[in-house]
C-alpha cells in the first residue's frame, strides 16, 4: 500500500462574484475525490475552464475548498500556520516564468524561499547549490534571470521549489510559453526529480506528449474527474478524450485511425507496430 501525500475528499470549490448585490457562485470543481501517492508522477488534463488549475491551487492551500477536505500528509490546512506547513511540503510552479522570478541574480532567486523560512546561511548556500545542480542550472548561478531563455527560467523556478525541500511539486502548464527545446529541458528536469529524488509531481498540461510520460493521467471536465488511469488506458479512448475537448499524441492517433492498435503512446511504439504489420510489404 503506497503512502498518500495529497488527498481530496469530496472537494467542491466555487468562485464567488458580486452581481447585482447578490453574490453568485460559479462552481469550478464539484465533489472531487482524488489521491496522489508519494513518489507518483500524475498528469492532469482538461480543456480551458475545466477546473484543472483550481485543482492544482487546492493542492498547496492557495485556495481553500468550499466544501470537502484536502489533506496533505495528514495536515488539513485550516489555519494560516497549517497552510504554511502544507506549502513547505507542496511547492508550485506557474505558467509564466517572468511572473515568478523575484531577484536579479539566479542564486538569490533560488535562495528567496529558504531565506523566508529562516534557515541559517550555510545551510541555505548548500540548498541553493544542490537545487541549481539538480536542474542543471548551477553554472548560471551568477546570471541575471531576465537574460535566460524561457526553459532556463522555468528550471530556476523549479530550483526555487526544490530549495525549500518540498516533497511534491505542482506545475501548472509550465511549458505553455516555451519553445520545443525549452519544453524538452523542463520535462527532462521534472522526470529526473521524480525518478532520482523521489519527488512527487503533479503536472497540469495541454500537451498530450507530456501526459503520456506520467505514471497516471487524470482528466478533468466540467469540474469533475472524468477519467483516471494509466496513460495507456486513458489514451486508448481517443473518441472519449476528444469529447472532453482534448487530443491524443500523433503516434496514438495514427494507430487509432489505421485501426491497428489502441493506446500507442510514443513514436517508437508506433513505428514498431507499423513495421511489424508492414512486414509483408518489405
Amino acid at each position: 500500500m503506497s503512502e498518500k501525500i495529497i488527498e481530496f475528499e469530496n472537494v467542491t470549490f466555487a468562485y464567488e462574484t458580486e452581481e447585482e448585490d447578490a453574490p453568485v457562485q460559479f462552481p469550478a470543481l464539484t465533489d472531487v475525490s482524488l489521491t496522489i501517492n508519494k513518489g507518483e508522477f500524475v498528469a492532469v488534463l482538461g480543456h480551458n475552464g475545466s477546473g484543472k488549475s483550481t485543482l492544482a491551487k487546492l493542492c498547496n492551500a492557495i485556495l481553500e475548498p468550499t466544501k470537502g477536505k484536502v489533506t496533505v500528509k495528514g495536515i488539513v490546512p485550516d489555519t494560516e500556520e497549517k497552510a504554511d506547513e502544507v506549502r513547505r511540503i507542496v511547492g508550485m510552479v506557474f505558467q509564466n516564468p517572468d511572473n515568478q522570478i523575484v531577484a536579479t541574480i539566479v542564486e538569490d532567486d533560488v535562495a528567496f524561499g529558504p531565506e523566508n523560512l529562516g534557515i541559517e546561511p550555510a545551510q541555505i548556500r548548500k540548498r541553493v547549490d544542490d537545487a541549481l545542480k539538480s536542474v542543471n542550472m548551477y553554472e548560471f548561478r551568477h546570471r541575471e534571470p531576465h537574460k535566460l531563455s524561457g526553459g532556463q527560467k522555468q528550471r530556476v523556478a523549479i530550483a526555487g521549489v526544490i530549495a525549500m525541500q518540498t516533497e511534491c511539486i505542482v506545475l501548472d502548464e509550465p511549458t505553455a510559453m516555451l519553445d520545443p527545446k525549452g519544453r524538452e529541458e523542463v520535462m527532462q528536469t521534472v522526470k529526473r526529480l521524480n525518478k532520482e529524488m523521489g519527488i512527487t509531481v503533479v503536472l497540469v498540461t495541454h500537451f498530450m506528449d507530456e501526459a503520456v510520460q506520467a505514471d497516471r493521467v487524470v482528466v478533468v471536465d466540467g469540474g469533475r474527474i472524468v477519467m483516471n488511469g494509466k496513460p495507456r488506458e486513458i489514451f486508448s479512448n481517443v473518441e472519449k478524450l476528444r469529447s472532453f475537448g482534448l487530443d491524443v499524441p500523433q503516434s496514438t492517433e495514427l494507430c487509432h485511425v489505421l485501426g491497428i492498435k489502441e493506446g500507442v503512446l510514443d513514436v517508437d511504439e508506433c513505428v514498431d507496430e507499423i513495421a511489424r504489420l508492414a512486414g509483408g510489404a518489405l
Binding site: G49, Q250, A281
Partner: protein, 288 residues
C-alpha cells in the same frame, strides 16, 4: 513588381552603443508576396518577434529597410502611419491588452484611429465579431467578464476590424487547449480564404505551421537560417533540431519507418496524410 513586405539588409541591435550591444536581427533579406501564408519559426530569442515588430514600424531598423508595397515605411510620417494600418499585428497573449469598457469599444479602437465614419466602424466591428465568433450579446459587456478564450477572440477581432492587408499573429495558439487551438487554426485559414489577405504566423509549433503555411522562414541566431516550402524546410530535421526546433511527431515516425527499410516518403507532416499512405502500404502487404 513590388512585394507586400520586403526587407533589405534589415538589422536591429539591442543595447545599442553599449558594451552589451547584440544584433537581435542581422542583415535579414525577405520577400513576402501578396496573399501568401508565411510561417516564421525559431527558438526563443532567435529574433522572430523583433523581425515582425519591424513589419509595421513598431521598431525602427538600425540599418536596412522595410518596404510595404514597395515603399520604405520610414520614408515619412504619413507613410509610417499608413503602413501601421496596412499591417496588423496581433501579439502573443493579446487578451492581456484589452482595456476598453466594452467589447464593442475594444474592437472599434483600431477603426476609430483610422478616422472612419461611425457607420463604417460599426459595420467593421460587426463583421469582425461575427467572423471571430464573438457573440453579439457580449458586445456591450466588459471584456474582463469574459473567459480567456473569449477574450482572445475579442483581441483578434480588434486587429481584424482594421481590415489590414497583412495580418501577423505572434504565437496565436499559445496557452490554448486542443479544441481552442483547432478552432483558431480554422479561423485563420478561413480569414485568409475569405479576404485573400497576406498572413504571417510566428509559432513554436511545427505541427501548426505544417497545417497552415505555404512557406516557412526559419530564424536562428538573428538571421534567416532557411526558407522554403514546408517540404523543403521540414526535410532538414537534423538541422532544425540543432537549432532547438523539432519536426512534427508524424514526420519523425515516417523518418524512422524509412530507417527500418519501409518504402514510405519522408515529406509527411500531418496525420491525415500519413494515414492515407500507410493504408495503401498495409493493404499491399496483406494482399501478398
Amino acid at each position: 513588381m513590388s512585394y507586400t513586405i520586403e526587407t533589405i539588409g534589415l538589422t536591429h541591435y539591442y543595447s545599442k552603443g553599449t558594451v552589451q550591444q547584440v544584433a537581435a536581427i542581422n542583415d535579414v533579406n525577405l520577400k513576402i508576396e501578396k496573399g501568401e501564408l508565411v510561417g516564421i519559426i525559431g527558438h526563443t530569442g532567435s529574433g522572430k518577434s523583433t523581425l515582425i515588430s519591424h513589419f509595421n514600424g513598431l521598431l525602427k531598423p538600425d540599418s536596412g529597410k522595410v518596404l510595404v508595397d514597395g515603399v520604405d515605411i520610414w520614408k515619412d510620417k504619413e507613410t509610417l502611419k499608413k503602413s501601421r494600418f496596412k499591417v496588423g499585428l496581433c501579439f502573443q497573449y493579446p487578451e492581456y491588452q484589452l482595456f476598453e469598457e466594452t467589447v464593442y469599444k475594444d474592437i472599434a479602437f483600431g477603426p476609430k484611429n483610422m478616422k472612419l465614419s461611425e457607420a463604417e466602424i460599426k459595420e467593421r466591428v460587426m463583421r469582425a465579431a461575427a467572423f471571430t465568433g464573438v457573440k453579439a450579446e457580449h458586445l456591450g459587456k466588459s471584456p474582463f467578464d469574459l473567459s480567456g478564450g473569449e477574450k482572445r477572440r475579442v483581441a483578434i477581432a480588434g486587429v481584424m476590424s482594421m481590415e489590414p492587408e497583412v495580418l501577423i499573429f505572434d504565437e496565436p495558439a499559445a496557452g490554448l487547449d486542443p479544441r481552442g487551438r483547432n478552432a483558431l487554426i480554422n479561423l485563420i485559414k478561413d480569414y485568409r480564404k475569405q479576404t485573400g489577405s497576406t498572413v504571417i504566423i510566428v509559432s513554436h509549433s511545427m505541427e501548426d505551421i505544417a497545417e497552415m503555411a505555404d512557406r516557412v522562414i526559419v530564424m536562428n541566431n538573428s538571421s534567416v537560417a532557411m526558407q522554403g516550402s514546408v517540404d523543403e524546410v521540414y526535410s532538414r530535421g537534423d538541422e532544425l533540431r540543432a537549432m532547438g526546433l523539432n519536426v512534427p511527431e508524424i514526420t519523425e515516425i515516417f523518418a524512422k519507418l524509412r530507417a527500418k527499410g519501409l518504402d514510405v516518403p519522408q515529406n509527411v507532416y500531418t496525420v491525415e496524410q500519413g494515414a492515407a499512405i500507410l493504408r495503401k502500404l498495409l493493404e499491399r502487404g496483406s494482399a501478398k
